[in-house]
Symmetry: C2
Subunit: 189 residues, 2 copies
C-alpha cells in the first residue's frame, strides 16, 4: 500500500439514470445530507471534485443554494469545516457534461470507474485500481443513488469496481457509507 | 489480514456525554438517518449489536418506534433490507447500562474501545485492534455524536483507537462515515 497516489480523483453522485426499488429507470431526489456527508469524506481523502449530477433544474438550484449558504456569510462563519468540505462540491446536469468538463480540464478523458453492489465480468479489484491511481491518470468514480447505476453506465465505464464486501451475504450499504469505504480502500496510506 | 475474526463486536452511538461545537458537555439529538445508515453498516460487517445510547426518554421512544415501524407490518414488507439491518439495533439509557448488559450476556466485561478524531497517548492502531479481535474477547466500540466523546469516557476505555486519517490535515468526518471506515478496516477480509 506504499505507492504514492498521483492521480487526481473525482466523484460523481448520479441521480439519473438509476434504478428504483422495482427496477425501473428513474431520476432520484437529491438528499441534502448526502451532499454534506460526501463533501466531508471527499475533502478527507483529498478528492479534487465531487459532482452532484441531476437533470432536474430545481434540484441543481437547491444544491447551488446550499453550497452558497455555507460558503458565504453566516453559514461560513458558523461552520467553517462544512465550508471547507463544500469547496470541492459542484453541480452537473448529466454525466456527458461531467466527463466533458474533466476532459477540457486535463486535455484527455478521465478513466471512468463505475461502482455498484454486484460483481460483473468486467469488475476489477481494489488493489488493481490502486495501481491505476499511482499512474497519474485522472479518475472519475461514479456512484449511483437509489438502487444503483443503470446498466448502460456500467457498460460504458472503463472499469467497474468490485462491490464492497463485508462479512456474510448482506450488501445493502447506503451510498454515503460505500463512498467512505471505497475512498479509504483506494486512497488511504 | 488473514486472521479470523473471533470476537463479537458491538457498537454504541453515544449522545451523552458528548461535546458541542464550543466544547460544552451536552446531550445531542438522535438523528434518524444515523440509525438507518449505521444499522446497515453494522449488518454488513456482522456486528452483533448496535446500541443507540441516550438518556432522553422521548428520544429512546422515537428510536423504538422507528425500529417497530420497520420491523413489523407495512414497513417490514415495504423495505425488507431495512428490516434486516434493524435486527441488530437496540436502545440504551447510558453507557453503564450498555456495558452491564453485555457483561451479563458474556459473563465478563467487554473490551471497551473509544474512538475520536484526536490521537492520545493511549491510542492504539488498527492492526493492533485487529489482533485483539482474533483473540475472541467481546468488543464494545464507542462512537461520539456531536463534537465527540467527553474525556471521562476516553479515560475509562480500555483502548482509544487511532483517528481515521485520510490525506492531509482535514479530519471532520461525519460519525456515519467514520463508523463505516473503522468497521471496514477492523473486520473486512
Amino acid at each position: 500500500m506504499g505507492d504514492t497516489i498521483k492521480s487526481e480523483i473525482h466523484l460523481a453522485l448520479v441521480h439519473y439514470p438509476v434504478y428504483n426499488k422495482v427496477g425501473e429507470v428513474v431520476t432520484s431526489s437529491v438528499t441534502t445530507l448526502d451532499i454534506h456527508d460526501i463533501s466531508r469524506v471527499a475533502r478527507t481523502y483529498a478528492v479534487s471534485s465531487f459532482c452532484v449530477v441531476t437533470p432536474l433544474k430545481t434540484q441543481r438550484q437547491l444544491v447551488e443554494r446550499l453550497i452558497k449558504h455555507w460558503m458565504t456569510g453566516y453559514g461560513a462563519e458558523y461552520n467553517p469545516t462544512r465550508k471547507e468540505a463544500l469547496l470541492v462540491t459542484r453541480v452537473m446536469n448529466n454525466l456527458t457534461e461531467t466527463v466533458r468538463d474533466l476532459t477540457d480540464r486535463y486535455g484527455k478523458k478521465p478513466v471512468i470507474v463505475a461502482t455498484g453492489a454486484k460483481k460483473l465480468p468486467k469488475s476489477v479489484g481494489f488493489q488493481y485500481l490502486r495501481k491505476e491511481i499511482t499512474r497519474g491518470e485522472p479518475i472519475l468514480l461514479l456512484f449511483g443513488t437509489g438502487w444503483g447505476l443503470e446498466k448502460s453506465i456500467l457498460k460504458a465505464a472503463d472499469y467497474v469496481l468490485d462491490p464492497v464486501e463485508g462479512v456474510g451475504e448482506y450488501n445493502h450499504l447506503p451510498v454515503r457509507a460505500a463512498i467512505a469505504i471505497i475512498l479509504d480502500r483506494l486512497v488511504a496510506r
